[in-house]
């Protein structure tokens, strides 16, 4: 294997690990929301336990990329790709953390009867999940058009977030005994909205990778 082939091999391996990490994080988010909707404490505990693997994989990706930068002095697209891999890994690791946070809220709510807002929360999750899944596809295909479309979906998430928070605040007046659950569900909404923002960040990183210039999609 030539030096360049070895470099390409390492670069591809880092990218494959990143895709694995992304899938794990998105699955954790889905599992956490499903656990919340079905009030499944065991599933929530599994999400918390599974996050260790996500964190470990992110560290492995970081170590691999840093070693490549140190040993190969990459430039131009190679260098941008390595830096973008580290940043996207960090975004995805964060999504994994939100899944853990949602799992913890699920455990706190326990078996208390859930408010109807769970329907909208599931809608938010569906949007965030679509964004995250598609941004990873766009990343693999280096498709900036798709990345732009994903960033536009974020508006829907933000709008829905506003609606759900309003609804939760109103239901506080009607259900004073459920203030604690209302707060917890508001946090869950926030985690979902943040997850979608991370998908937008990744779309921006993809633009940087492909075009070498910075774009702001979070407006």
């Amino acid at each position: 294997m030539s030096v360049r082939e070895k470099f390409d091999y390492e670069l591809n391996s880092a990218q494959e690990q990143l895709i694995l990490l992304s899938n794990m994080a998105v699955n954790a988010l889905t599992k956490a929301v499903n656990a919340l909707a079905s009030q499944d404490i065991d599933a929530a505990l599994e999400v918390i336990e599974g996050d260790k693997e996500i964190n470990q994989l992110e560290e492995e990706i970081n170590d691999r990329v840093i070693l490549l930068i140190a040993k190969q002095s990459p430039v131009a697209t190679d260098l941008r790709r390595l830096v973008v891999i580290i940043k996207v890994a960090s975004d995805m690791e964060r999504v994994g953390d939100y899944a853990v946070n949602i799992a913890k809220e699920t455990i706190r709510i326990g078996k208390e009867e859930l408010l109807s807002t769970i329907v909208e929360i599931k809608q938010m999750h569906e949007l965030a999940r679509t964004m995250l899944t598609q941004v990873i596809e766009a990343f693999v295909e280096e498709d900036v058009i798709k990345a732009k479309e994903i960033a536009e979906l974020d508006d829907q998430v933000d709008a829905l977030y506003g609606e759900v928070i309003n609804k939760l605040m109103l239901s506080g007046a009607q259900n004073p005994d459920k203030i604690s659950q209302i707060t917890q569900l508001a946090f869950v909404c926030r985690y979902m909205e943040r997850s979608a923002d991370h998908a937008t960040n990744i779309a921006e990183q993809l633009f940087y990778l492909v075009r070498g210039q910075h774009y702001d999609m979070n407006k």
Partner: protein
């Protein structure tokens, strides 16, 4: 909560003030006999900057740098067309004396090539040719040049020793000091560190950074990381053509030509 997403905005870089040109090359062509070694070169080299010339072996980078002080004319079969304006004057003009040009443009080569003379005489050689005989003035020039080349402290107590007694890295700095002694405007460097160890290389690289305050430096290098570290502008040569010429930051982070990217990423060359 709802936000309106307009077209994605690209962040624009901040523009810098234009510097004066020291060398302006216009449509330069050069042939060694039938071999068309430089093809339609257009380059605008700015003063008080370090301009790096990179490219694979045989791409014309050394030929180009040797054309800048007309050293290339030592090859009998050489033919040129086009213009190289040095400080707005075409160096190929019939009334432009080559000695006059080389007084303004010093050169440092790949292998250190001090004269087989004392350290002192190596540095004083140029000024003496230009008629400086006053010992006091010569002493001042020698000290200033050796200081300028960051080697004064190492040789000040042994100026009478033969320059060959120095290490390769020290000899190269003596050659730089020799170039500085005639107070040039431009220093051409043709792979000045390729025969040196990493520590000596680092010293020369630091020196180049210092020298650009007072001189314009054009450096041919095979070491891409060196070009990235020390130059302000980089020109990528391939098969006698300038493929890309831009800020070094741009060349190494986001080159516009795929051939540049392939070369600097080690995909060929």
């Amino acid at each position: 909560m709802t936000t309106i997403k307009t077209a994605i905005k690209k962040k624009e870089p901040v523009k810098q003030e234009e510097k004066k040109s020291v060398y302006l090359t216009k449509q330069l062509n050069l042939w060694y006999g039938d071999n068309h070694a430089l093809k339609n070169i257009d380059l605008d080299i700015k003063e008080n900057e370090v301009t790096a010339i990179i490219g694979p072996s045989g791409c014309g980078k050394s030929t180009y740098i040797k054309t800048l002080n007309r050293m290339v004319e030592l090859v009998p079969t050489v033919k040129t067309s086009g213009q190289i304006l040095y400080r707005d004057r075409n160096i190929f003009d019939k009334d432009y004396g080559v000695e006059e040009l080389r007084t303004r443009v010093g050169m440092v080569f790949q292998k250190p090539n001090p004269f087989p003379k004392s350290i002192y005489d190596n540095i004083a050689y140029g000024p003496r040719i230009h008629g400086i005989k006053n010992k006091k003035i010569l002493n001042e020039i020698v000290e200033k040049s050796l200081r300028g080349a960051a080697i004064w402290e190492e040789v000040k107590d042994r100026l009478d020793e033969n320059a060959y007694s120095l290490s390769g890295g020290q000899q190269q700095r003596i050659c730089i000091a020799r170039a500085l002694a005639i107070e040039p405007d431009v220093i051409l460097m043709d792979e000045p560190t390729s025969a040196l160890d990493p520590i000596s290389t680092l010293k020369i690289e630091e020196l180049v950074q210092e020298l650009k305050k007072d001189y314009s430096i054009i450096i041919v290098t095979h070491n891409m990381q060196q070009a990235a570290r020390i130059s302000d502008k980089t020109a990528f040569f391939l098969n006698g053509e300038v493929i890309e010429y831009d800020d070094t930051d741009t060349i190494f982070s986001n080159p516009s030509d795929k051939r540049t990217e392939d070369y600097i990423s080690g995909r060929f060359g």
